[in-house]
């Protein structure tokens, strides 16, 4: 069946929110497992942290931080939209502002570290 062409801004925001959410949910068990090594096998955690110094791993970490930031900001936008009794244009403006801020800060963050 036909699927509508729907690459409009809010639809893209939805996709970004969903993809970042799934990625974070998949990452969490790994994250928890590695941290739990601190008690059981500190030397293995240290090995892992050395491995995490590799540029490629670092880049993946920045990706994760960006996903977390985007998911948080996007979620706050959704909740503001749902719960604050603002009129539609203000909501669009707020959405745009959050999107811009995330983009800017994300880029900044990727540059800095």
């Amino acid at each position: 069946m036909m699927r509508p062409a729907r690459a409009h801004p809010l639809w893209l925001a939805f996709v970004l929110h969903r993809v970042s959410g799934v990625a974070l949910a998949l990452f969490l068990p790994l994250h928890f497992y590695v941290l739990s090594l601190a008690l059981r096998a500190p030397e293995r955690l240290d090995n892992f942290l050395t491995f995490a110094e590799l540029p490629l791993v670092k880049f993946a970490e920045f990706g994760l931080v960006f996903l977390l930031a985007v998911h948080t900001a996007g979620g706050l936008r959704l909740m503001a939209m749902e719960w604050l009794p603002w009129s539609a244009p203000q909501k669009s403006l707020a959405a745009g502002a959050v999107g811009f801020a995330v983009l800017l800060s994300g880029t900044f963050f990727l540059q800095v570290i």
């Binding site: 069946m1 036909m2 699927r3 509508p4 062409a5 729907r6 409009h8 809010l10 639809w11 925001a13 939805f14 929110h17 969903r18 959704l78 939209m81 749902e82 719960w83 009794p85 539609a88 909501k91």
Partner: protein, 242 residues
Amino acid sequence: MDGQSQTMDVSVWRGGEDGDYQTYQVPAYESQTILDVVSWIQQYEDPTLTYRFACRVGMCGSCAMMVNGEPRWTCRTHVRKVLTDGAIKVGPLRNLPVIKDLAADMDPFFDKWVAAGGVHTPSASRNEPIAPVDPDGDDRVTASAGIECINCSVCYAACDTVAGNDDYLGPAALQRAWTLYNDTKHDNRAGILDAVSGTGGCHNCHSMGSCTFYCPNELDPMAAIAGLKRETARSFFRNRKG
């Protein structure tokens, strides 16, 4: 655009759910709508082509179809606006069962309209004096924002949440519920909040905004659904307190 001698390739969905697209050569005119094109095929190529329309002027909401993959009211969609490389693809509305050709089964759409609490319950009878309604009151302004819905189901066809979740009531039904919720003459406002709080209710909406993006009457169902979420959340906290 093209003169009268030129033609364009129009692919039209033929058959039921397992049908296929069939291509017709249709004369291109300076000024014609998608509905004109579909009607031309029915009148000059194949009288068995099934499709729906009534008013032809964007009031009745019966001629919506998928045009080049997007839901549109075909009587107000100019060919020139959507023609891509001399071709157009017309199909039945998405997210609804296909009856035949371009006619989708609208039953689920209207059943959900009722399920969302969309039937008006008067708060007074004809024997009582008419209660005045201030057209500029907050409630009325909010309600009025959604009353120009023509039930065309374009928003329902555009919504990916409807596509993934059979139970979801969809943008049109929820917007109707929101206008009634804000109608001071509606007698069952609490009932609306219950009706939109179930498994298929307003809380399934992901605010992707395709409803608002595609609504031919430029209504904003997404904002209406956000309003329902706000009021149901408020009632959730109220009920907690006892």
